[in-house]
Symmetry: C2
Subunit: 504 residues, 2 copies
């Protein structure tokens, strides 16, 4: 398959490449799996549930890391690297924790040619590892707070898996902090939840609802778990990050104590919080369209792709002029701090347009012989496909402006969709109808009992995503603040509405 | 232990803190282990051979990553994340490879509550994993070259371990590339070796000798392995990075073929190359002194520490003036792009001096009431302890200047030490004497046979570190270029001298 074949059929193949893609509007699940492979974000691995993250997918993760890591460091957190493996005896120290995680653990039982005396767990999460070290490092109130974070992968043996959303090994960051006082630990828990909200909404353009998890849904070993919940296009919720107030549970299990100012020996208060590559799955699902991905400019590996429009073969001077203008544009855009790709491949423009649309580049710049003559470039934004012209001299400002608009539009679209798919239900029947008619978030009163929670789940398939701090906007436009009512299941008093949805 | 205790005894404790440290000049090995713990770079973990990398140690690793990653990306490489685990059947596909690594592998045999049908290896290195995916992705010459890299941890079950230098799990990067032609793959192998040399010499200020490994010392599965070798203060060599030309070994084992321009199906040519956190061990050993660490400014987490000198309690105006001057200095230095720490703790200046010296901060800036009066700051560089004064207004330029000097001096010192510890030997006896008298590098003719190599190792404890591209400077000042001679063991012809040393 040489150059010539591609040259003559490129345009058609380019269209096929996209035509082949299942329409997102028809089958979200298939579209999701296909677009990830076509755009070369990830691929399958030989072990069930594992994935390979390819350069384009990893580039987004690196930008997500940069956005979060800057926020962590600005709030005084420091990065570390703790071990991959822990002895079984450590994992079992905190009773609820082991109960929650042991069934999903991958165990190392042989190493260096020998059977090991004790099984070693590949970390499913590292509370037990950090707890062990904190118990050694923390002696005095002067050693507190400890504000540590690590970027790593963890392993949880899952049965039903899906690219990014649920994989057996996944990339994430896990923050682990220890504090002198309860209120300080509580503040940290909320501060990190708000850091996640800020990052996911501003950088990823995905609106989320923050709130507290029910007892049934909280992290194994936590006193309370807080979450940010996003809504996917099929009306299912996706938990996008969690922040746990661990109380003194791990401090007691791992004997993390300090001598306070009053000379008393006390247990510390700890928190943990994490965001994983699963949130990249939310970005893909929320913003993409029938033609492929749409990446929010702040995390798009290429914010701008320049597609040179070829001159007629009979006009070599034109070709040189285009080449010069494209190179100048690339330099100007890069100089303005934008991430720019130029597609000099020998594919046809049509093929390139389709390919970069599928790959979700938020802005395409076309420069051809006629554009050079007019000292202009064609700008085509990915979200609306709107075409504008900008003078070559003013290209960086025009591009930056369009990118800001794309970022805002993606967020606004997602907010509008969520609003259209958020309702209130005053009874279990109303809840069922709401989840059937236009699946999404439903706000409903719940008394707080595990029985009613289980019945809701059994009858509707929906779970309590969180007890939200504020009620999100609903489709009917009726605003409401959290307030008391009656449980939709047993009619008992409810302090406020819970947020319900089926979930990934 | 409240404030008061510390205030009155801080000066003495500060001195103890350093006095406690074993002198590097007396016992390098103990000094090394102690200084890593005292400076809080790393700590032991509960599983033999594993370590915990603490914030200060991880901060250096992050700077090392940034330095290398920028170089990788500038040469067209892209980052990815490939799986932690591989089925045993993959590891065994390349015969030499499995022979080299299988004895060190940690095996997952149970997961998700079940015995696994096939053991899964935690990656000891990822040639087999990349090879498997490359075989799927590479179809045409258009898919080449593939230039991928990943930052991750790998596990090799080691018996004798030591912080950073040899740990069971270690952080590293591993590059894996596939090429259309042999010469291109060979060029890549050498280009990455030179990238390592440039990074280690310029950023880490550690001089290295590049060369080719002997057959006995090469990577399991490689056609040839190239290395950069550094010399530690005890005269032992430390392999600081390796770059492997894998020929078509992995291409054949993993069936990585492509259709070339001539329509023929051909095997690709592959390379792999890695640098690990062990190289941080070299930085620690090479530059430190009896008072502790000395970090090269380019990778020092704090390049400058400002120690405010307290005013007399009776002069609150002075205290305010110092606070203002320190804050202004911090802002000016940070604004100039320097990494700055201010030590506002309630320890005494003496304690702080000792502590930051132990932690290896290359430049200390002292600002006290008298300095403020004179609008100056005291600059004390860590390497020579030389004290100079700089006007507060010119502090950033003066600090940057000192840091450049420190970077250069550390490198020059290491080069001078290496030169003093490099010699030539014309016989096995001379080799023994050289290694005994002043352990270091010895250049000696070697015929290339495995028998002679084994005999050298058995009789002297030294191994062939590499066949160097150029002969390094020797203590006697006699320059020589690689040229023929007679093997020091069997007298047979030798094309050039090999570089020998005992090694970590």
């Amino acid at each position: 398959m040489g150059d010539r074949t591609l040259d003559t059929t490129g345009e058609r193949q380019g269209r096929d490449f996209v035509t082949d893609l299942t329409k997102k509007s028809v089958d979200l699940s298939r579209w999701y799996t296909e677009v990830i492979q076509k755009a070369e974000l990830a691929d399958y691995w030989q072990i069930h549930g594992f994935q390979v993250i390819r350069p384009y997918g990893y580039a987004i993760w690196e930008l997500m890391q940069a956005g979060l890591d800057g926020r962590f460091k600005a709030t005084g957190h420091k990065n570390v690297y703790f071990p991959l493996l822990m002895p079984e005896s450590l994992l079992t120290k905190e009773a609820e924790h082991v109960e929650g995680f042991a069934p999903e653990v991958a165990w190392v039982t042989e190493a260096g040619g020998e059977k090991l005396a004790e099984r070693l767990a590949i970390r499913p999460t590292s509370e037990a590892i950090f707890g062990t070290m904190y118990s050694k490092w923390v002696q005095s109130w002067r050693d507190l707070p400890l504000l540590l974070n690590q970027w790593c992968s963890v392993v949880r043996w899952e049965k039903a898996t899906r690219f990014f959303l649920r994989t057996t090994e996944f990339l994430w960051q896990e923050g682990h902090t220890a504090h002198r006082a309860e209120d300080e630990a509580r503040q940290e828990t909320m501060r990190m939840l708000d850091t996640y909200r800020d990052f996911v909404e501003r950088d990823l353009a995905v609106p989320v609802i923050p709130g507290r998890k029910s007892e049934a849904e909280k992290f194994a070993g936590a006193d309370s778990t807080y979450t940010i919940e996003a809504l996917m296009p099929d009306g299912q919720a996706l938990q996008s990050a969690t922040s746990h107030f661990l109380g003194q549970n791990f401090a007691r299990a791992f004997d993390i104590t300090f001598q306070d100012l009053d000379s008393q020996r006390k247990h510390v208060w700890t928190t943990s919080w994490g965001l994983s590559a699963r949130t990249l799955g939310a970005v893909i699902m929320v913003h993409g369209d029938d033609s492929g991905l749409i990446f929010p400019p702040r995390v798009a590996p290429h914010q701008v792709v320049i597609v040179p429009i070829p001159a007629r073969a009979s006009r070599p001077t034109d070709e040189e002029a285009v080449r010069g203008a494209v190179e100048a544009a690339r330099q100007a855009l890069t100089g303005a701090g934008l991430r720019v790709e130029v597609d000099w491949s020998d594919k046809t423009p049509g093929w390139k347009f389709s390919e970069w649309e599928l790959r979700g580049v938020p802005l395409r710049v076309e420069i051809g012989p006629r554009d050079v003559q007019k000292a202009q470039a064609v700008l085509v934004r990915r979200d609306t496909r709107e075409k504008t012209f900008a003078p070559l001299a003013g290209l960086p400002a025009a591009a930056a402006d369009v990118l800001e608009q794309v970022q805002a539009v993606l967020y606004d679209r997602a907010v509008a969709f969520r609003k259209a798919r958020t309702s209130r239900a005053a009874s279990l029947d109303e809840l069922k109808v709401a989840l059937q008619a236009a699946p999404g978030f439903v706000l409903a009163h719940w008394c707080g009992s595990a029985e009613c929670e289980a019945r809701i789940k059994a009858e509707t398939g929906a779970t309590i995503r969180c007890i939200p701090f504020e009620e999100p906007e609903t489709a009917d436009g009726v605003a409401a603040q959290p307030g008391p009512g009656s449980c939709v299941v047993d009619g008992k008093p409810s302090a406020q509405r819970a947020l319900l949805a089926r979930a990934y």
